[in-house]
C-alpha cells in the first residue's frame, strides 16, 4: 500500500550540488564584512558629507552634499543636494533622530557603525573588515577562473543571448526556470554576478586604496585610472551604493524564488531543482497545443 501511495505523490525533486564549500563560506563571511564595510563607510562619510569630482575638493561645488539648515520657524531641515537639485530629506539624511532630539548628521545613527559620531572607530572597523573582504575577493576570483567555474557557470553562451527577451520578461513576471533549466544560472543571473564580481567589487577595493596617500605614492597609476583622489572617493561611494542595490534585489529574488531551497543551497550546498510539472496556465496549454 505504501509503495502505491508513494508513486501517486509527486516524484522526489532532483537535488544537485550547487555551491562548493569555499563559495558558501565566502558568501557568509561577505554578509558580515559588507554589512560592517557599508555601515562604517557611512560613518566615515558623515565626517565630511560631500562628494566631488577631480583631484581635490571644490568646496563650493560638490557633486553631492548632505547638510542641515534652519528654516523660518527655527526647526532643523535636512537638505540633500545633487548638483543643482535640492531635496528635503529631514528625518533620514541631514537631520535625524527622535523628534525631541533631532541631530545634524548626514546618515542616521541606525545606518552607521558605530551609531554615534565616531570617525576614529568607524575607520578601524572599515579597515579591519576591508582586510578580510579584499584578500578573500581576490582569492575567490582566482578560484573562479582556475577551477573553470567562470567559464562553465558564469560566461553567457550564444544561445542565451538569443533568448534574452524571453529571459527578461520571464524574470519580470517572477517566473523562474524549473527542472533541468534550473541547473544553470540564466543570462540575467550570469550578468549580475559577473558585473558584481569582476567590475563593482574590484572597483570598490581599488577606489578605496586610491584614497590612501601612501598607496598613491606606491601606485600613482591609481590616481590616473580614477581621475584623482576625490573622484575615487565619489566612485567608491557609488560602487558601495551599487553593491547595496545588488543586495536588495538579491534578497528579494531569494525570497520569491524559494527561500528554503535557496538558503539550504548556500548552507549545505544542496539545491532541489524546482519540479518541471507545475500546473500550466491556460496560456501555456494553448502554446503547447499549437506546437
Amino acid at each position: 500500500m505504501r509503495l502505491l501511495d508513494d508513486t501517486r505523490k509527486a516524484p522526489r525533486p532532483t537535488v544537485i550540488k550547487r555551491h562548493s564549500a569555499f563559495t558558501r563560506l565566502w558568501h557568509w563571511i561577505n554578509v558580515v564584512c559588507l554589512a560592517i564595510l557599508l555601515m562604517s563607510g557611512l560613518q566615515i562619510f558623515n565626517a565630511h558629507p560631500a562628494l566631488y569630482w577631480g583631484k581635490d575638493s571644490t568646496f563650493e561645488a560638490p557633486a553631492l552634499s548632505i547638510g542641515a539648515e534652519r528654516d523660518e520657524d527655527g526647526s532643523l531641515r535636512g537638505i540633500t543636494r545633487i548638483g543643482d537639485l535640492r531635496v528635503d530629506t529631514t528625518g533620514v539624511l541631514g537631520v535625524s533622530g527622535p523628534s525631541t532630539d533631532r541631530e545634524r548628521r548626514a546618515f542616521p545613527a541606525w545606518a552607521t557603525l558605530p551609531g554615534p559620531r565616531w570617525l576614529a572607530m568607524g575607520r578601524q572597523w572599515h579597515f579591519l573588515a576591508g582586510w578580510v573582504f579584499a584578500p578573500l575577493l581576490a582569492a575567490y576570483l582566482l578560484y573562479l577562473v582556475a577551477s573553470g567555474q567562470l567559464r562553465r557557470r558564469l560566461l553567457p553562451r550564444r544561445r542565451e543571448w538569443r533568448q534574452v527577451g524571453t529571459t527578461v520578461t520571464d524574470h519580470l513576471r517572477l517566473r523562474f526556470p524549473r527542472g533541468e533549466e534550473a541547473r544553470h544560472y540564466n543570462l540575467l543571473q550570469k550578468l549580475a554576478y559577473l558585473v558584481v564580481l569582476f567590475v563593482v567589487a574590484p572597483l570598490v577595493v581599488l577606489t578605496g586604496l586610491t584614497m590612501s596617500p601612501t598607496m598613491d605614492a606606491a601606485w600613482p597609476w591609481l590616481l590616473d585610472l580614477f581621475g584623482g583622489r576625490q573622484s575615487a572617493r565619489t566612485l567608491h561611494f557609488l560602487a558601495a551604493a551599487a553593491l547595496l542595490a545588488f543586495f536588495v534585489v538579491h534578497i528579494l529574488l531569494v525570497l520569491v524564488s524559494g527561500l528554503g531551497n535557496n538558503l539550504r543551497s548556500m548552507i549545505t550546498g544542496r539545491y532541489a531543482l524546482p519540479p518541471d510539472h507545475a500546473l500550466p496556465t491556460k496560456k501555456e496549454t494553448r502554446d503547447d497545443a499549437s506546437h
Binding site: 565630511h48 576614529a120 601612501t214
Partner: protein, 256 residues
C-alpha cells in the same frame, strides 16, 4: 473581512523595534571598546602599515601637481589662531624671536631661527593635502627638508621617532603634538614648511612653521611647530600614543 488598525499594537511594535535597534547599537559600541576588538584593530593597523611599506618604497614620492591645480584658498582645519600668550607675542613680532628647538636623542641640540631655516637646503612642491575627514586640497609648499635639519643636529642611534611639539592647545585642551618614525622623517618630500603658495605661511595654516609629510593624512602634519624632540619611544608624551589625535583614538599609522 477587514482588520481594524490597532494603534496600540503598532506603537508597541515600533517601540520594540526601536528598543531592539538601540540595544543592538549599544552592543556594537560596547564591542568597539572591548579589549578583544582593540587588539584586532591594532593588528589590522600593523598589517596596513606593513603592506603600505612593502608597496611604497622609502623614496616613493607623493604625486606633485601643476600650478593650475592649486586651490584658490587652502582650507585651514583644527586650530586656526592659537590663543596662547607666548605664541601671540611671537606672532606680534612677525616671529623674529621664534626659535625651533631641536633636542632629545641628538648629538648637538640646536635652536634655529626662521632665517636659519630659510638658508638651509629647501624644496618646493605642489601636493595634495588629505584630511582624515575625507576632503583634499592642493597647495604649494616651500620649506627646509627635514632630513637636512636632522643631519645638522646628528641623530643618535637610539632615536626612532621625531616628535613635533606645537604652540597650540587644540580647543584650549592639551598641547598638540605629533610624531613620525625616521623612515617618514627622512623622506625627500618631508618638509618643515614656512611658505604656502609662494608667501609666508599664514597663521591659519600653521605660521611660522608646519610639518609636511605628504604620504600621511593631515592630522600628522603639526602646525605652529616650536620644538623637535628625537625619542626612542613616545610612551612618556601625552597619553602615550604618539600624537594628539592618536591619544583620542586615531591610529598612529596615518598613511591611509
Amino acid at each position: 473581512m477587514t482588520h481594524p488598525t490597532d494603534p496600540g499594537r503598532r506603537r508597541f511594535l515600533t517601540r520594540g523595534l526601536l528598543t531592539g535597534g538601540t540595544l543592538m547599537l549599544a552592543g556594537c559600541d560596547q564591542l568597539s571598546r572591548s579589549d578583544a576588538m582593540q587588539r584586532l584593530f591594532a593588528a589590522s593597523e600593523g598589517v596596513t602599515q606593513q603592506a603600505h611599506r612593502l608597496l611604497a618604497s622609502r623614496e616613493a614620492l607623493a604625486r606633485e601637481y601643476a600650478p593650475d591645480d592649486i586651490a584658490p584658498t587652502f582650507r585651514a582645519n583644527g586650530t586656526t589662531m592659537p590663543r596662547e600668550a607666548d605664541y601671540q607675542r611671537l606672532a606680534a613680532n612677525d616671529f623674529r624671536d621664534w626659535r625651533l628647538e631641536v633636542d632629545g636623542l641628538v648629538e648637538r641640540p640646536q635652536a634655529f631661527s626662521l632665517d636659519d631655516l630659510r638658508a638651509m637646503p629647501a624644496r618646493t612642491q605642489i601636493t595634495r593635502h588629505d584630511c582624515v575627514e575625507g576632503w583634499s586640497c592642493i597647495g604649494q609648499w616651500t620649506g627646509a627638508v627635514l632630513g637636512e635639519v636632522l643631519a645638522r643636529v646628528g641623530v643618535r642611534d637610539e632615536a626612532r621617532f621625531v616628535v613635533f611639539h606645537s604652540a597650540d592647545r587644540y580647543r584650549g585642551g592639551e598641547p598638540y603634538y605629533e610624531s613620525l618614525d625616521l623612515r617618514e622623517a627622512y623622506h625627500p618630500q618631508t618638509l618643515l614648511a614656512y611658505d604656502l603658495n609662494g608667501r609666508d605661511l599664514p597663521i591659519a595654516n600653521g605660521a611660522p612653521l608646519r610639518l609636511r609629510a605628504e604620504r600621511q593624512l593631515g592630522y600628522k602634519m603639526a602646525k605652529y611647530v616650536m620644538r623637535l624632540e628625537l625619542v626612542s619611544s613616545f610612551a612618556h608624551l601625552g597619553r602615550g600614543r604618539g600624537g594628539y589625535w592618536e591619544d583620542r583614538g586615531y591610529r598612529w599609522w596615518a598613511g591611509i
